[in-house]
């Protein structure tokens, strides 16, 4: 089943063309790592998928339903419904600082009437176990480390029962010793066949956890294929240069 289909996606910031016609097809259970140099449009692309940026042209389909069709968006109300199928994890976590971990987790599902408060609290407890933070239900975000915050953010996204998870550089704001705990959680989700699109700079992680790699440069897709095809055996000079500069082994 096609979870995300993107055709000819275009996005400008004023005069600057950031996305110059992106195509992508994500199947159920795919873990797509989006790689590429800074400024290549990776994050903008991801943000377009979940409507944090409005695209100027092209089409986006989520599980076959259009979000954007040939440059025209569906009405706002329907968008919210459709986008709730996707969860998003941000670089800077974006937990709600005035709410406890529990309230961060149950807020959205409670408002979407996905269960009673008690049911959702039980579910929140389960989710915290899956991110190895079982004891943190009543903590405030302030008291958590960066890695813990990010794992809570993942748990929060999982609470909405998403079909697809999007990650925007989930470890870039973390100290190096804290990235492992977050990547382990994402890897476990990959093993459980969660469909994910992950913008990242962690090449090794992409190689291990992703089954597909999308390489972007200057608003174009330069390559899309298995990690071996894109990272290790690519013929493009531009891509080879990029990986050569990184110590990826």
């Amino acid at each position: 089943m096609e979870m995300i289909t993107v055709k000819g996606l275009k996005k400008n910031f004023g005069e600057l063309e950031v996305l110059k016609g992106i195509d992508l097809s994500v199947q159920k259970g795919d873990v797509v790592a989006v790689l590429g140099p800074s400024g290549s449009g990776k994050s903008t692309f991801l943000r377009c998928l979940i409507d944090l940026e409005e695209a100027e042209g092209g089409s986006i389909y989520i599980e076959g339903s259009p979000l954007l069709e040939e440059g025209k968006y569906i009405p706002k109300k329907q968008r919210r419904e459709l986008l709730y199928k996707m969860g998003m994890v941000f670089q800077h976590f974006n937990l709600f600082p005035h709410m406890s971990v529990r309230d961060n987790l149950i807020l959205a599902p409670l408002l979407h009437k996905q269960g009673s408060k008690q049911e959702l609290i039980n579910k929140a407890n389960e989710m915290l176990k899956t991110v190895s933070l079982a004891q943190k239900l009543n903590d405030m975000p302030k008291s958590l480390s960066g890695g813990q915050k990010q794992r809570i953010a993942i748990a929060r996204a999982l609470m909405q029962n998403p079909d697809i998870l999007l990650f925007d550089e989930p470890t870039s704001a973390l100290d190096p010793e804290l990235t492992g705990e977050v990547l382990r959680v994402i890897k476990r989700l990959a093993q459980e066949k969660m469909t994910m699109v992950i913008v990242t700079h962690e090449i090794n992680f992409a190689r291990e956890a992703a089954n597909k790699v999308l390489f972007m440069d200057e608003g174009y897709v330069l390559a899309f294929g298995t990690p071996e095809e894109v990272i290790d055996n690519n013929k493009s000079e531009r891509i080879k240069n990029f990986f050569a500069k990184l110590d990826t082994k």
């Binding site: 979940i50 409507d51 944090l52 919210r80 986008l83 709730y84 996707m86 969860g87 998003m88 941000f90 800077h92 974006n94 937990l95 709600f96 600082p97 005035h98 709410m99 807020l107 959205a108 408002l111 979407h112 405030m140 975000p141 302030k142 929060r156 996204a157 909405q160």
Partner: protein
Amino acid sequence: MPLNEWIPQMAQGCLLTLKLFAVTIVFSVPLGLLLTFLYTSKNRVVTKIIALYILLMRGTPLLLQIFFVYFGLPYLPVIGKYVTINSRFVAGAVAFIFNYAAYFAEIFRGGLLSVDKGQYEAAKVLGLSETQTRFKIVLPQMFRISLPAVSNEAIILIKDTALVTAIGLVDLLKVTKTIVNKTTNVSAFLVATLFYLVMSYILTLVFKFLEKKFDY
């Protein structure tokens, strides 16, 4: 120093000070919040009108505004006779409320601007509506960020209330001045100072408590 005579009189004046303070806070904070909403709305005409209002309120002396409300309103063409305020207290309170609402609006707007963009984005991807985002995510954070500035403004207000003596209201300062005139004993001013200090100190404690309570 005949304190046993002065203190009851001064307490009487204090009561007016406190009444004016309470009425002003109770009405100007919600009005300020409303002004902030309007000021940050997408309607250009509305934002221009609010900007002009805030300029007028902050750009002219409060004393002048008190005079305007009490003495000036009846002279307004057409609507003058409908908006005349005969009660000195009500006139003073109205001037204070409209003036302080402008300051609170700017304080809240600052608080609003300090709420991280990522908070709106997280709310959006979690499927919250704009109203839910405003009331569950943005406003609680805005209030917390604004508290120190609101506290500052409240302490200024308790002292500003002395301006109403200009339209003949008898507040703490007016009582004190009368005592000094009658007795030629200036130490009454010292007692008044203590009154103001105690009120300010209590306010400080209240806001400290609020800041702690809403800390996150």
